[in-house]
């Protein structure tokens, strides 16, 4: 196979396009070179011309080129966006239909909304549908290619779909699907494949797909559809309009070979293979080198261009270990580098208190995070985002992720990975290797500060593999006594004590003494201590797709004063924990999705300003009514030992607060 790019001109400007650089000159292949290219194909024993661009139908000589192909008796595969003129459409209708295939790339339903060019695409589908195969390049994990199935049915298209991954062009700055998203995309393709099988459709996977994108069931399904990932990253000589051969567009600026008169496809391919040989040692992931699928020649490590994005080199300016990709787009990323390369603690205003903070990701544009960094960057240790490409749930329901890619690419803060479902869905021996692998992939691309886990064995495995990575014992590990805390010494660098003991300052202090690592306190979760629904609630949160109803509501309707005993501390009372706590954690992936509220709450905690308990973004068991919490009262709840059966102080306090106006019932405590 060989492709002939007859023009670099295109009528679209796709964000992921790896063909567009503006450097290929001339923009159109000459008639003489095209004629020579046909001879080259025939000399190579190839029976099909594969025309691509740009948009090949924009070449002024496109119709005469088709005449030449027809005279030669060759088949034609045309890569097009479908936005072609009537004249070209007519010529294609006149081409021998048994020798014509049009691969039409579409992005989504919006390709078929309104404007004239969309009408042109629809016309192509209507008139040439039996010759049209649809393709879709996946450049973001959010793309759902399911819409293609309806188009195939509607227009009677070739019953096959070609999916491609948008790869990086080495040295350029096109948008591409980062390998960290491969598993997410793999699962999506698996779901699509199941629907395709039911409809009797075939699936073709373009180059760069790796078997590890899919689980075993998905791989079996793909095989049945005729799609085998792993082996398609070989140089397929592409002839450019200027007469150079390249292995593919993503590698166009790395390798090219000049055309000699006696060349055929195999000789050019051999020269390219030789030039790229040394780079074949690396794969898209840091563990590709040890992967048995690689050694068994089942996978060749994914897209070579994507693998080369991992290369580092000393640039001439002697800036150490700068990734090639970043150098290539240094101008574009200059601002990003400015805010992200320095340790965060050197920026921003120091909050009140010596502790650092872990704060939740909410789906906001980068400017939101830049503002937070500017205001409180010095105190923020990490942001914990959702984990769309780690198999295990984070213990919380799915979040919106529209801005997640931009956040991860340009994040001004290190991230904390939360892998803490309340129970693991399979034995830890089955799960740990894959989790470790996925953490490794995160670390390749993102500044990972810590991993929070709820399973002790998993914590041990992670620490063994990444001794330099901070491992935090989740609140869901339920560490509620000094002897439990001692078990974590040397394994976990930090622990979040169980919410059962957060309001028991004596036990909290004993844990502090027994544990050599850092103590992290969740300030606003609000769960009841030892909640009888806790396991079920977090199970539903982790493994169901919906946000579960509050299970404790009925219980709390009967005894609403219990809300005062929950795991929360107001900003103005943080100082009561100063001698015990090293780090604070703000909850609120669900409750603080409003960006203004998020900043208000964060500001209050940073500055230890007064808030009422219903304003801290707490969970379902937190105080829902507006009331002031007196410091003496709060201190009492930390020291009382929760002998609620013999005490009615919280009940009285609560009933008084809800029966009287807040500003009259209690004095407002000031900030510290």
């Amino acid at each position: 196979m060989s492709n002939i790019s007859i023009t670099s001109t295109c009528s679209r400007s796709c964000v992921y396009c790896f063909a567009r650089t503006g450097s290929e000159k001339p923009r159109y292949i000459s008639a003489e070179r095209f004629e020579a290219a046909l001879t080259f194909l025939q000399r190579s024993g190839l029976s099909r011309v594969r025309l691509l661009g740009g948009e090949p139908t924009l070449h002024p000589q496109f119709n005469p080129f088709l005449d030449a192909i027809e005279v030669c008796g060759l088949k034609l595969l045309l890569f097009s966006n479908g936005r072609m003129t009537e004249k070209v459409l007519e010529r294609l209708l006149g081409f021998p239909q048994d020798r014509l295939t049009i691969l039409l790339n579409v992005h989504g339903d919006d390709d078929f909304q309104s404007d004239e060019s969309c009408n042109a695409v629809i016309k192509v589908l209507r008139h040439l549908g039996a010759n049209v195969m649809l393709g879709c390049n996946l450049y973001s994990p959010s793309i759902n290619p399911d819409f293609i199935l309806a188009l195939i049915h509607k227009f009677g298209l070739i019953p096959e779909v070609r999916l491609g991954l948008a790869h990086p062009r080495v040295g350029a700055a096109n948008r591409f699907l980062h390998p960290r998203h491969y598993r997410t995309v793999g699962a999506r393709i698996g779901a699509l494949a199941a629907k395709m099988q039911a409809r009797g459709l075939r699936l073709e996977l373009d180059c760069g797909f790796t078997p590890c994108m899919f689980d075993e069931n998905e791989l079996r399904l793909l095989k049945r559809l005729g799609a085998v990932p792993g082996k398609r990253c070989n140089p397929l000589p592409d002839l450019l309009p200027d007469g150079r051969f390249i292995p593919c567009y993503p590698l166009a600026d790395v390798v090219h070979v000049d055309w000699r008169d006696d060349d055929d496809c195999k000789s050019i391919q051999a020269r390219m293979i030789k030039k790229l040989e040394r780079y074949r040692q690396i794969g898209v992931f840091s563990d590709c080198g040890e992967c048995p699928l690689r050694h068994e020649n089942i996978c060749n490590g994914g897209c070579l261009a994507a693998a080369m994005m991992r290369l580092r080199q000393i640039p001439s300016s002697a800036c150490p270990s700068e990734p090639l990709a970043r150098r290539a787009s240094a101008k574009k990323r200059a601002f990003v580098s400015e805010i992200s390369t320095e340790p965060c603690r050197h920026h921003g205003v120091q909050s009140v208190g010596k502790q650092t903070w872990a704060i939740p990701y909410i789906d906001q544009p980068l400017s939101f995070w830049q503002d937070i960094q500017k205001r409180w960057g010095a105190s923020i240790q990490e942001v914990y985002p959702p984990l769309p490409h780690i198999d295990l749930p984070s213990g919380r329901p799915p979040q919106k992720t529209a801005f997640l890619d931009a956040f991860l690419d340009n994040c001004p803060f290190p991230v904390g990975l939360l892998i803490n479902p309340i129970v693991l869905p399979r034995p830890v021996d089955h799960i740990a290797p894959r989790v470790v692998q996925q953490i490794g992939r995160w670390r390749e691309t993102t500044r990972v500060n810590s991993v929070t886990v709820a399973n002790y064995s998993l914590a041990v495995r992670i620490k063994e593999t990444f001794p330099d990575l901070d491992v935090t014992a989740s609140v869901l590990m339920d560490i509620a006594s000094p002897q439990q805390a001692m078990l974590l010494n040397g394994v976990c660098d930090a622990l979040v004590p169980s919410s059962r003991v957060m309001r028991d300052i004596n036990v909290f202090g004993a844990i502090r003494q027994a544990y050599t690592g850092a103590i992290r306190l969740m300030v606003n979760e609000g769960c009841l201590p030892g909640c009888v629904f806790r396991a079920q609630h977090f199970y539903e949160m982790a493994f169901c797709r919906h946000v579960p109803e509050s299970l404790c509501r009925e219980l709390l309707d009967k005894a609403p004063w219990m809300r005062l005993t929950g795991a929360w501390v107001l900003p103005q009372h943080l100082h009561l924990f100063d001698h015990i706590v090293d780090q604070f954690k703000l909850s609120g992936r669900v409750t603080l999705q409003n960006p203004n509220k998020y900043k208000r709450v964060l500001q209050a905690y940073m500055e230890r300003a007064s808030l009422t308990p219903n304003a801290i973004g707490g969970g379902p068991a937190s105080v829902l009514v507006d009331m002031h919490i007196d410091e003496d009262f709060y201190r009492h709840t930390l020291e009382c030992g929760q002998n609620c059966h013999a005490c009615d102080r919280c009940r009285v306090y609560y009933e008084k607060a809800v029966s009287e106006p807040a500003d009259m019932a209690f004095s407002v405590t000031g900030g510290h």
């Binding site: 040394r278 690396i282 580092r312 000393i314 150490p320 090639l324």
Partner: protein, 95 residues
């Protein structure tokens, strides 16, 4: 640039590298060759890329390789000499 006696070393501008899970792969940008470094040599390479001083590198390498400082120095010097011979590093002789 890291000095050893009267010779100092710097990473060649033609040397590219990739940090793998169990080592480092060095690739020559112009010549068709590569080499794989396992630990602790890979750690030595990593320290080299961070522009640390020779003293800092020896101290860190001693910790990573779990050897004393004399052994770490020998290890580092062996690596530098070998990588210099192979063209991954460039040498400059001080006058």
């Amino acid at each position: 640039m890291n000095s050893r006696a009267s010779v100092s070393y710097a990473i060649s501008t033609h040397t590219q590298w990739v940090v793998e899970r169990k080592g480092v792969v060095l690739i020559h940008a112009l010549e068709n060759r590569f080499t794989r470094l396992a630990y602790p040599e890979a750690a030595a390479w990593d320290l080299l890329t961070r522009n640390w001083t020779r003293r800092e590198m020896i101290l860190m390498l001693a910790v990573i390789a779990a050897v004393d400082q004399a052994a770490a120095e020998t290890l580092l010097d062996g690596c530098l000499e070998q990588w210099g011979d192979q063209g991954w590093l460039t040498r400059e002789t001080k006058v």
